[in-house]
C-alpha cells in the first residue's frame, strides 16, 4: 500500500467515483472516498496525506470540515472542489488554510492531478530536509564528537549538559585546536533549538569594515556597494543560535555595537530605521584570556560580563592524560574506515612518543598527525617512526632548544613556571623552592 493517502470527500457518488478512479490512475496514490463530512471526520485520525473536499456536503459545511482538519493538523493540504464560483467563498477558504480551490468543471481533474503532484514533491522535500536535519543532529550528539575519559573532559561534558538545558549565553575558551566550535555545535544541536538555524561567524576572518553589516545586515544604499538589502547573521539566526568565534579579535567600535544589541535585544540594519528583534541564543569562543584582555583595556569590561555566561574552558590535550591515546586510536580508526584501509594499531613506542608530546595544536594537531601516520605506516602497526611531530617533545620543549648559560636556564625555567601557573608568583616560588623576592626582582629588572 502506498503511503501517499488521498481522502476524497464528495457527496455525489457519481462524481466522487469518477474522481477516485481518475486519481487512482497513479499507482503511487492510495485513494479513499467519503460521502459525508461526518464519515470523513471519523477517519481523520488515519492521517491522510491530502484531502480533496467538496464544499457542499449534506451534513456539515465545507468550511466547518476544513476548520476541523486545520485544528487537527494544519499540515494536511486540503484541496477544495466546489460547484461554487463565488470568489469571496474561495478567498475565505484559502484564508482558513485551504491549499487550493477548484471549481468543478471539465478541467478540474487535471488541475487536481497537478496539484497532487506538487504537494507530493513538496512533502518529499520536507521529508528530505527533516532527515538531513536529523543526520546533522546525530553527527553532533556530543558523545560522538567530544571523546575522552579524563576528569578534565568529564567536567566539560557536565557543563555542556547544563548549557543544553537553558538558553544561557555560553563562553567557550581554550587553546587553538581544542574543539571550541564543536562544543558550540554540540550545544546547539542537542538543545531545544536543534531545528532552528545555527549561524557561525568567525570574527577574525571578516574585515573590520564589513563586520557590522555582516552581523546586523544593511539596507540598500547604506554605503557604496550596498546594492541590495542584506540580512545580517543575527537576523538569519532568528530564534536559533549565533556563534561568535574568536570574539577576542573584535575591535572596540564593534564591541560597543554588540553590547548595545545584546542589552536592548534589538538591532537596526546599517542605514536602516526598522527595529529588528534579536531572539538568538549567543555562544562565543576565544583562545585569548578575555579577563586578561579586559585588564589590558583591549576588551570592554561590560561586554565581557555580558558574554561570560556559562564558561566552558576546554583543557589542552597535553593535560588530558590517556585521552591522547584514546583519541589517537579513534582518529586512526576513522581515517582507515573513510579510506577503506585495514585497521591499524599503535606500537608501544608510538604510544610513548605521543604521550610525551606537547600538542600545541591540540586535538586538531593530533588528528593531522595520526592521519599522516596511517599513510606512512607500512604494516598494520603504526610505529614511532611513522609519527612525525612538528615541535620538540615535552621534556625538552623550553630548555634544550639552544644552549644557554646557567643564569639563562634559570630565567627560562622561572618564565615557564610563571606561564604555567598564570603569573601566580607565590605559587611559582613555592614550586621552585625559591624566595618570591627573587622573582619580583627579576621582573623589576626586566630579566624575565
Amino acid at each position: 500500500m502506498s503511503n501517499f493517502k488521498i481522502f476524497i470527500v464528495e457527496d455525489d457518488p457519481f462524481y466522487g467515483e469518477m474522481l477516485k478512479y481518475h486519481i487512482s490512475l497513479n499507482p503511487d496514490y492510495s485513494v479513499e472516498k467519503f460521502q459525508t463530512g461526518k464519515d470523513f471526520l471519523n477517519n481523520l485520525h488515519r492521517n491522510p496525506s491530502v484531502v480533496t473536499l467538496d464544499y457542499t456536503l449534506p451534513d456539515i459545511s465545507g468550511l466547518e470540515v476544513l476548520k476541523k482538519i486545520m485544528a487537527y493538523n494544519p499540515n494536511i493540504p486540503v484541496i477544495i472542489v466546489s460547484g461554487q464560483e463565488d470568489v469571496s467563498t474561495a478567498v475565505n477558504l484559502l484564508k482558513e488554510g485551504a491549499y487550493d480551490y477548484f471549481v468543478k468543471n471539465d478541467e478540474t481533474k487535471d488541475r487536481i492531478w497537478n496539484s497532487l503532484k506538487k504537494i507530493r514533491e513538496k512533502l518529499n522535500l520536507e521529508k528530505e530536509i527533516d532527515s538531513l536535519k536529523e543526520e546533522i543532529g546525530r553527527k553532533y550528539i556530543f558523545g560522538n564528537i567530544i571523546k575522552g575519559n579524563s576528569p578534565g573532559i568529564k567536567k566539560i561534558f557536565s557543563l555542556i549538559e547544563k548549557a543544553i538545558q537553558t538558553n544561557i549565553t555560553v563562553s567557550i575558551t581554550g587553546e587553538t585546536g581544542t574543539g571550541k566550535d564543536l562544543v558550540a555545535k554540540a550545544i546547539h544541536y542537542n538543545s531545544a533549538k536543534a531545528n532552528l538555524p545555527f549561524i557561525a561567524i568567525n570574527v577574525s576572518a571578516i574585515p573590520k569594515e564589513l563586520i557590522e553589516s555582516e552581523m546586523f545586515g544593511h539596507e540598500k544604499g547604506a554605503f557604496t556597494g550596498a546594492v541590495t538589502r542584506k540580512i545580517g547573521k543575527f537576523e538569519e539566526a532568528g530564534k536559533g543560535t549565533i556563534f561568535l568565534d574568536e570574539i577576542g579579535e573584535m575591535d572596540q567600535y564593534m564591541q560597543v555595537k554588540l553590547l548595545r544589541v545584546l542589552q536592548e535585544k534589538e538591532l537596526n540594519r546599517v542605514g536602516g530605521n526598522e527595529v529588528i528583534k534579536v531572539n538568538a541564543r549567543v555562544i562565543i569562543a576565544t583562545n585569548r584570556n578575555l579577563a586578561e584582555e579586559v585588564k589590558k583595556g583591549n576588551f570592554r569590561q561590560d561586554l565581557y560580563f555580558r558574554l561570560l555566561g556559562l564558561n566552558i574552558n576546554l583543557p589542552p590535550l597535553r593535560d588530558r592524560g590517556n585521552d591522547i591515546l584514546l583519541l589517537a586510536k579513534y582518529f586512526v580508526d576513522e581515517f582507515c574506515k573513510e579510506n577503506d584501509l585495514q585497521k591499524k594499531s599503535l606500537s608501544q613506542k608510538a604510544q610513548e612518543k605521543l604521550m610525551n608530546y606537547d600538542f600545541p595544536g591540540n586535538v586538531r594537531e593530533l588528528k593531522a598527525i595520526m592521519e599522516l601516520a596511517v599513510v606512512m605506516a607500512n604494516s598494520e602497526v603504526i610505529d614511532d617512526n611513522d609519527i612525525s611531530l612538528s615541535a620538540a617533545t615535552r621534556s625538552s620543549n623550553f630548555l634544550m632548544d639552544e644552549e644557554d648559560t646557567l643564569q639563562g636556564y634559570d630565567k627560562k625555567i622561572i618564565k615557564h613556571f610563571l606561564e604555567k601557573y598564570d603569573n601566580n608568583i607565590l605559587e611559582v616560588a613555592k614550586k621552585l623552592d625559591i624566595g618570591k623576592s627573587t622573582i619580583y626582582r627579576m621582573i623589576k629588572n626586566k630579566e624575565i
Partner: protein
C-alpha cells in the same frame, strides 16, 4: 427536443477522462442510474414542500454529474436553480423547470439502460 433516437448525452468526455476503460465506465453509469432517480425525487419533493433552499442544494449536487455526461439540454437549467437566491427569483417558473428536468432525465435513463443493457 431532439429526434427520439438521438442520445441526449455525450459520453466522449467521460470516456476520455477514464482513459477508455469500459469497466469503470459501466460502473459509473450504474452509479448514476442508481442515485440520480433518488435525487430527482428529492428535487420534486422540495418543490412540493416549498423548501427552495433544499431544492437549490439538490440541484447543485446533481449539476456536476449531469455536466459530466454532457446532457446539454439541462446544462443551463441546472445552473439557473443551483442557489437559493436563484430559486427564489424563479419561484414561479420552478414547476415548469422541474417538469423539463424530469422529462429529459426519464429519456436519459431509458437511453442509458438501452446502451449499457442494464
Amino acid at each position: 427536443m431532439k429526434p427520439a433516437n438521438e442520445r441526449l448525452y455525450n459520453l466522449s468526455y467521460l470516456k476520455e477522462q477514464l482513459g477508455d476503460n469500459d469497466e469503470i465506465l459501466q460502473e459509473l453509469i450504474q452509479i448514476f442510474l442508481e442515485n440520480t432517480p433518488a435525487d430527482l425525487a428529492d428535487l420534486n419533493k422540495s418543490l412540493e414542500n416549498n423548501d427552495l433552499e433544499h431544492l437549490a442544494a439538490v440541484a447543485h449536487k446533481m449539476k456536476s454529474s449531469l455536466a459530466t455526461l454532457k446532457i446539454d439540454e439541462l446544462k443551463d437549467v441546472m445552473v439557473s436553480i443551483d442557489k437559493p437566491f436563484k430559486t427564489q427569483e424563479l419561484k414561479k417558473d420552478l414547476p415548469g423547470i422541474l417538469a423539463k428536468i424530469n422529462e429529459v432525465l426519464a429519456i436519459v435513463f431509458e437511453q442509458l439502460r438501452e446502451d449499457f443493457s442494464m
